[in-house]
Symmetry: C2
Subunit: 139 residues, 2 copies
DNA sequence: TAGTATATGCAATTTAATTGCATATACTAT
DNA sequence: ATAGTATATGCAATTAAATTGCATATACTA
Protein backbone atom coordinates (compact mmCIF):
# COMPACT_ATOMS: atom_id res chain seq x y z
CA UNK A 1 0.00 0.00 0.00
CA UNK A 2 1.41 3.41 -0.99
CA UNK A 3 0.87 5.98 1.71
CA UNK A 4 1.60 9.66 1.68
CA UNK A 5 1.20 10.86 5.24
CA UNK A 6 1.44 14.52 4.31
CA UNK A 7 -1.44 14.47 1.88
CA UNK A 8 -3.53 12.33 4.18
CA UNK A 9 -3.14 14.97 6.87
CA UNK A 10 -4.05 17.73 4.41
CA UNK A 11 -7.14 15.90 3.24
CA UNK A 12 -8.41 15.73 6.79
CA UNK A 13 -7.49 19.26 7.86
CA UNK A 14 -4.95 18.07 10.36
CA UNK A 15 -1.82 20.00 11.11
CA UNK A 16 1.37 18.59 9.75
CA UNK A 17 3.55 17.57 12.67
CA UNK A 18 6.44 15.16 12.67
CA UNK A 19 4.78 12.97 15.28
CA UNK A 20 1.67 12.53 13.19
CA UNK A 21 3.67 11.73 10.12
CA UNK A 22 5.78 9.29 12.08
CA UNK A 23 2.75 7.38 13.38
CA UNK A 24 1.28 7.02 9.92
CA UNK A 25 4.58 5.86 8.48
CA UNK A 26 4.97 3.26 11.15
CA UNK A 27 1.49 1.86 10.70
CA UNK A 28 1.77 1.84 6.94
CA UNK A 29 4.89 -0.33 7.14
CA UNK A 30 2.90 -3.50 7.41
CA UNK A 31 -0.33 -4.84 6.02
CA UNK A 32 -0.86 -6.40 9.41
CA UNK A 33 -2.55 -4.23 11.99
CA UNK A 34 -0.23 -3.09 14.75
CA UNK A 35 -1.17 -3.15 18.40
CA UNK A 36 -1.04 -0.10 20.61
CA UNK A 37 1.59 -1.69 22.92
CA UNK A 38 3.79 -2.49 19.93
CA UNK A 39 3.43 1.01 18.63
CA UNK A 40 4.41 2.36 22.00
CA UNK A 41 7.48 0.19 22.05
CA UNK A 42 8.53 1.33 18.60
CA UNK A 43 7.82 4.99 19.09
CA UNK A 44 8.31 5.28 22.82
CA UNK A 45 11.53 7.19 22.49
CA UNK A 46 10.31 9.52 19.80
CA UNK A 47 6.76 10.27 20.81
CA UNK A 48 5.24 10.79 24.20
CA UNK A 49 2.77 8.16 25.29
CA UNK A 50 -0.01 10.65 25.77
CA UNK A 51 0.59 12.19 22.39
CA UNK A 52 0.38 8.77 20.79
CA UNK A 53 -2.99 8.17 22.45
CA UNK A 54 -4.25 11.46 21.14
CA UNK A 55 -2.96 10.95 17.63
CA UNK A 56 -4.47 7.49 17.40
CA UNK A 57 -7.79 8.79 18.63
CA UNK A 58 -7.99 11.62 16.16
CA UNK A 59 -6.94 9.30 13.32
CA UNK A 60 -9.64 6.88 14.26
CA UNK A 61 -12.25 9.62 14.54
CA UNK A 62 -11.27 11.12 11.22
CA UNK A 63 -11.49 7.75 9.51
CA UNK A 64 -7.78 7.52 8.77
CA UNK A 65 -7.21 4.45 10.89
CA UNK A 66 -9.33 1.48 11.81
CA UNK A 67 -9.29 0.43 15.40
CA UNK A 68 -9.65 -3.30 15.74
CA UNK A 69 -10.05 -4.79 19.19
CA UNK A 70 -8.44 -8.15 19.67
CA UNK A 71 -9.53 -10.92 21.99
CA UNK A 72 -7.62 -9.33 24.86
CA UNK A 73 -9.31 -5.97 24.46
CA UNK A 74 -6.14 -4.46 23.07
CA UNK A 75 -6.51 -1.87 20.34
CA UNK A 76 -4.87 -2.59 17.01
CA UNK A 77 -4.60 -0.11 14.19
CA UNK A 78 -4.54 -0.36 10.43
CA UNK A 79 -4.80 2.19 7.66
CA UNK A 80 -8.30 2.66 6.30
CA UNK A 81 -9.06 2.27 2.68
CA UNK A 82 -9.45 5.59 0.94
CA UNK A 83 -13.22 5.38 1.05
CA UNK A 84 -13.39 5.98 4.79
CA UNK A 85 -14.58 9.28 6.09
CA UNK A 86 -15.32 10.88 9.39
CA UNK A 87 -18.98 10.02 9.05
CA UNK A 88 -18.64 6.49 7.95
CA UNK A 89 -16.04 3.80 8.10
CA UNK A 90 -15.99 1.26 5.31
CA UNK A 91 -14.11 -1.37 7.16
CA UNK A 92 -16.17 -4.07 5.60
CA UNK A 93 -13.52 -6.69 5.20
CA UNK A 94 -12.86 -9.71 7.36
CA UNK A 95 -10.14 -9.57 9.97
CA UNK A 96 -8.06 -12.55 10.93
CA UNK A 97 -6.79 -12.74 14.48
CA UNK A 98 -4.03 -15.27 14.99
CA UNK A 99 -4.35 -16.95 18.35
CA UNK A 100 -0.69 -17.85 18.34
CA UNK A 101 1.19 -14.70 17.35
CA UNK A 102 -1.78 -12.37 17.98
CA UNK A 103 -1.27 -10.58 14.70
CA UNK A 104 -4.33 -9.15 13.03
CA UNK A 105 -4.64 -9.37 9.27
CA UNK A 106 -7.01 -7.44 7.08
CA UNK A 107 -8.21 -10.06 4.61
CA UNK A 108 -9.34 -9.22 1.11
CA UNK A 109 -12.66 -10.81 1.86
CA UNK A 110 -15.87 -8.87 2.14
CA UNK A 111 -18.06 -9.12 5.18
CA UNK A 112 -21.19 -11.00 4.18
CA UNK A 113 -24.55 -9.31 4.42
CA UNK A 114 -26.45 -10.22 7.53
CA UNK A 115 -30.17 -9.89 7.99
CA UNK A 116 -30.99 -8.04 11.20
CA UNK A 117 -34.01 -8.76 13.36
CA UNK A 118 -36.80 -6.21 13.35
CA UNK A 119 -35.88 -3.07 15.24
CA UNK A 120 -32.14 -3.42 14.99
CA UNK A 121 -30.45 -0.97 12.66
CA UNK A 122 -26.95 -2.08 11.82
CA UNK A 123 -24.63 0.61 10.57
CA UNK A 124 -21.55 -1.52 10.18
CA UNK A 125 -20.72 -5.16 10.61
CA UNK A 126 -17.37 -6.54 11.55
CA UNK A 127 -16.26 -10.12 11.11
CA UNK A 128 -13.20 -11.53 12.77
CA UNK A 129 -11.89 -15.02 12.27
CA UNK A 130 -9.76 -16.55 15.00
CA UNK A 131 -7.26 -19.23 14.22
CA UNK A 132 -3.73 -19.86 13.03
CA UNK A 133 -2.26 -17.55 10.46
CA UNK A 134 -0.24 -18.32 7.37
CA UNK A 135 3.09 -17.78 9.05
CA UNK A 136 2.40 -19.68 12.24
CA UNK A 137 1.15 -22.61 10.15
CA UNK A 138 4.49 -22.94 8.42
CA UNK A 139 6.50 -23.11 11.62
CA UNK B 1 -33.20 -19.09 29.35
CA UNK B 2 -33.47 -21.43 32.32
CA UNK B 3 -30.23 -21.70 34.19
CA UNK B 4 -29.28 -23.94 37.05
CA UNK B 5 -25.98 -22.64 38.40
CA UNK B 6 -25.43 -25.62 40.65
CA UNK B 7 -25.60 -28.22 37.91
CA UNK B 8 -23.54 -26.09 35.59
CA UNK B 9 -20.80 -26.03 38.19
CA UNK B 10 -21.04 -29.78 38.68
CA UNK B 11 -20.84 -30.44 34.97
CA UNK B 12 -17.59 -28.56 34.79
CA UNK B 13 -16.00 -29.91 37.96
CA UNK B 14 -16.06 -26.60 39.68
CA UNK B 15 -16.55 -26.24 43.38
CA UNK B 16 -19.89 -24.94 44.47
CA UNK B 17 -19.37 -21.58 46.15
CA UNK B 18 -21.90 -18.88 46.74
CA UNK B 19 -19.85 -16.36 44.77
CA UNK B 20 -19.80 -18.55 41.70
CA UNK B 21 -23.50 -19.19 41.92
CA UNK B 22 -24.15 -15.51 42.38
CA UNK B 23 -22.21 -14.55 39.27
CA UNK B 24 -24.05 -17.05 37.12
CA UNK B 25 -27.40 -15.92 38.46
CA UNK B 26 -26.62 -12.32 37.75
CA UNK B 27 -25.49 -12.98 34.21
CA UNK B 28 -28.46 -15.22 33.48
CA UNK B 29 -30.89 -12.47 34.44
CA UNK B 30 -30.73 -10.89 31.04
CA UNK B 31 -30.42 -12.09 27.48
CA UNK B 32 -28.22 -9.10 26.90
CA UNK B 33 -24.54 -9.57 27.67
CA UNK B 34 -23.40 -7.72 30.77
CA UNK B 35 -20.21 -5.72 30.93
CA UNK B 36 -17.53 -6.32 33.51
CA UNK B 37 -17.90 -2.82 35.00
CA UNK B 38 -21.65 -3.32 35.36
CA UNK B 39 -21.11 -6.67 37.02
CA UNK B 40 -18.68 -5.06 39.41
CA UNK B 41 -21.19 -2.41 40.29
CA UNK B 42 -23.89 -4.96 40.95
CA UNK B 43 -21.77 -7.41 42.88
CA UNK B 44 -19.18 -5.07 44.32
CA UNK B 45 -20.55 -5.36 47.82
CA UNK B 46 -20.97 -9.10 47.76
CA UNK B 47 -17.92 -10.30 45.88
CA UNK B 48 -14.39 -9.06 45.91
CA UNK B 49 -13.19 -7.52 42.69
CA UNK B 50 -10.31 -9.95 42.35
CA UNK B 51 -12.57 -12.91 42.94
CA UNK B 52 -14.89 -11.68 40.22
CA UNK B 53 -12.00 -11.48 37.78
CA UNK B 54 -11.02 -15.01 38.62
CA UNK B 55 -14.51 -16.41 38.40
CA UNK B 56 -15.12 -14.79 35.03
CA UNK B 57 -11.84 -16.14 33.72
CA UNK B 58 -12.49 -19.70 34.76
CA UNK B 59 -16.03 -19.54 33.37
CA UNK B 60 -14.72 -18.32 30.07
CA UNK B 61 -12.00 -20.98 29.98
CA UNK B 62 -14.45 -23.71 30.84
CA UNK B 63 -16.84 -22.61 28.14
CA UNK B 64 -19.56 -21.53 30.53
CA UNK B 65 -19.49 -17.89 29.51
CA UNK B 66 -18.69 -16.10 26.30
CA UNK B 67 -16.48 -13.09 26.54
CA UNK B 68 -17.42 -10.49 23.97
CA UNK B 69 -15.21 -7.47 23.58
CA UNK B 70 -17.00 -4.27 22.75
CA UNK B 71 -15.74 -1.34 20.77
CA UNK B 72 -14.10 0.12 23.87
CA UNK B 73 -12.17 -3.03 24.68
CA UNK B 74 -14.45 -3.75 27.61
CA UNK B 75 -15.28 -7.36 28.30
CA UNK B 76 -18.94 -8.38 28.23
CA UNK B 77 -20.24 -11.73 29.32
CA UNK B 78 -23.12 -13.93 28.29
CA UNK B 79 -24.07 -17.50 29.05
CA UNK B 80 -22.89 -19.99 26.47
CA UNK B 81 -25.26 -22.30 24.75
CA UNK B 82 -25.07 -25.80 26.14
CA UNK B 83 -22.93 -26.99 23.27
CA UNK B 84 -19.89 -25.08 24.44
CA UNK B 85 -17.02 -26.94 26.00
CA UNK B 86 -13.57 -26.22 27.30
CA UNK B 87 -12.07 -27.22 23.98
CA UNK B 88 -14.38 -25.39 21.73
CA UNK B 89 -16.77 -22.51 21.95
CA UNK B 90 -19.77 -22.56 19.67
CA UNK B 91 -20.51 -18.92 19.82
CA UNK B 92 -21.45 -18.85 16.21
CA UNK B 93 -24.21 -16.32 16.38
CA UNK B 94 -24.11 -12.67 15.49
CA UNK B 95 -23.70 -10.08 18.21
CA UNK B 96 -25.27 -6.68 18.07
CA UNK B 97 -23.46 -3.84 19.76
CA UNK B 98 -25.60 -0.78 20.31
CA UNK B 99 -23.56 2.37 19.84
CA UNK B 100 -26.00 4.36 21.95
CA UNK B 101 -26.63 2.30 25.08
CA UNK B 102 -23.61 0.02 24.54
CA UNK B 103 -25.64 -3.09 25.24
CA UNK B 104 -24.60 -6.25 23.49
CA UNK B 105 -27.26 -8.60 22.19
CA UNK B 106 -26.80 -12.18 21.15
CA UNK B 107 -28.89 -12.43 18.01
CA UNK B 108 -30.52 -15.63 16.83
CA UNK B 109 -28.65 -15.31 13.59
CA UNK B 110 -25.90 -17.66 12.53
CA UNK B 111 -22.54 -16.39 11.51
CA UNK B 112 -22.21 -16.89 7.78
CA UNK B 113 -19.48 -19.15 6.44
CA UNK B 114 -16.46 -17.25 5.24
CA UNK B 115 -13.89 -18.55 2.81
CA UNK B 116 -10.37 -18.11 4.18
CA UNK B 117 -7.36 -17.35 2.02
CA UNK B 118 -4.83 -20.14 1.57
CA UNK B 119 -2.76 -20.73 4.71
CA UNK B 120 -5.21 -19.27 7.18
CA UNK B 121 -6.98 -21.78 9.39
CA UNK B 122 -9.99 -20.25 11.08
CA UNK B 123 -11.21 -22.02 14.16
CA UNK B 124 -14.05 -19.67 14.98
CA UNK B 125 -15.56 -16.63 13.39
CA UNK B 126 -17.30 -13.84 15.20
CA UNK B 127 -19.58 -11.27 13.67
CA UNK B 128 -20.62 -8.13 15.41
CA UNK B 129 -23.03 -5.61 14.05
CA UNK B 130 -22.81 -2.03 15.28
CA UNK B 131 -25.79 0.23 15.24
CA UNK B 132 -28.90 1.22 17.13
CA UNK B 133 -30.79 -1.41 19.03
CA UNK B 134 -34.48 -2.10 19.29
CA UNK B 135 -34.94 -0.16 22.49
CA UNK B 136 -32.93 2.89 21.55
CA UNK B 137 -34.84 3.07 18.27
CA UNK B 138 -38.12 3.41 20.08
CA UNK B 139 -37.01 6.24 22.29
C1' DT C 1 6.85 37.85 10.30
C1' DA C 2 3.76 38.44 14.16
C1' DG C 3 -0.36 36.55 16.11
C1' DT C 4 -3.29 32.80 17.11
C1' DA C 5 -4.82 28.36 17.51
C1' DT C 6 -3.62 23.86 18.33
C1' DA C 7 -0.24 19.95 19.35
C1' DT C 8 3.09 18.26 22.30
C1' DG C 9 5.44 16.70 26.52
C1' DC C 10 5.62 16.42 31.33
C1' DA C 11 3.62 15.73 35.92
C1' DA C 12 0.05 14.20 38.45
C1' DT C 13 -4.02 11.54 38.91
C1' DT C 14 -7.36 8.08 38.16
C1' DT C 15 -8.67 3.58 36.86
C1' DA C 16 -7.83 -1.23 35.66
C1' DA C 17 -5.57 -5.54 36.22
C1' DT C 18 -2.28 -8.72 38.53
C1' DT C 19 0.21 -11.04 42.25
C1' DG C 20 1.18 -13.03 46.81
C1' DC C 21 -0.35 -14.66 50.82
C1' DA C 22 -3.26 -15.79 54.97
C1' DT C 23 -7.71 -17.43 55.95
C1' DA C 24 -11.98 -19.66 54.88
C1' DT C 25 -14.61 -22.96 52.43
C1' DA C 26 -15.90 -27.09 49.84
C1' DC C 27 -15.10 -31.72 48.86
C1' DT C 28 -12.86 -36.64 49.86
C1' DA C 29 -12.00 -40.49 52.36
C1' DT C 30 -12.38 -42.47 56.58
C1' DA D 1 -20.11 -37.04 60.98
C1' DT D 2 -15.34 -35.48 60.83
C1' DA D 3 -10.51 -34.72 59.86
C1' DG D 4 -7.51 -33.75 56.14
C1' DT D 5 -6.54 -31.66 51.84
C1' DA D 6 -7.02 -28.95 48.01
C1' DT D 7 -8.80 -24.94 46.26
C1' DA D 8 -11.42 -20.35 46.49
C1' DT D 9 -11.77 -16.09 48.58
C1' DG D 10 -10.56 -11.50 50.33
C1' DC D 11 -7.23 -8.23 51.46
C1' DA D 12 -2.98 -5.61 50.68
C1' DA D 13 0.30 -4.33 47.71
C1' DT D 14 1.97 -3.84 43.16
C1' DT D 15 2.07 -3.06 38.31
C1' DA D 16 0.17 -1.31 34.17
C1' DA D 17 -3.08 1.50 31.42
C1' DA D 18 -5.55 5.59 30.51
C1' DT D 19 -6.88 10.43 31.48
C1' DT D 20 -6.42 15.31 32.76
C1' DG D 21 -4.38 19.90 33.33
C1' DC D 22 -1.17 22.97 32.14
C1' DA D 23 3.09 25.26 30.32
C1' DT D 24 5.71 25.31 26.22
C1' DA D 25 6.50 24.53 21.43
C1' DT D 26 4.98 24.28 16.79
C1' DA D 27 2.24 24.96 12.62
C1' DC D 28 -0.68 27.74 10.00
C1' DT D 29 -3.05 32.56 8.82
C1' DA D 30 -3.15 37.13 7.65
Amino acid sequence: MKIDPVSILKEHDLKHTKQRVRVLEEIALDTVAISQPDLEKKLGKEIDRVTLYRILNTYQEKGILHRIMDMNGTANYAICSSSCSEDHHHDEHVHFNCTKCFKIYCLEVEVPRIKMPKGFLAKTVSSTAYGICEKCNNI
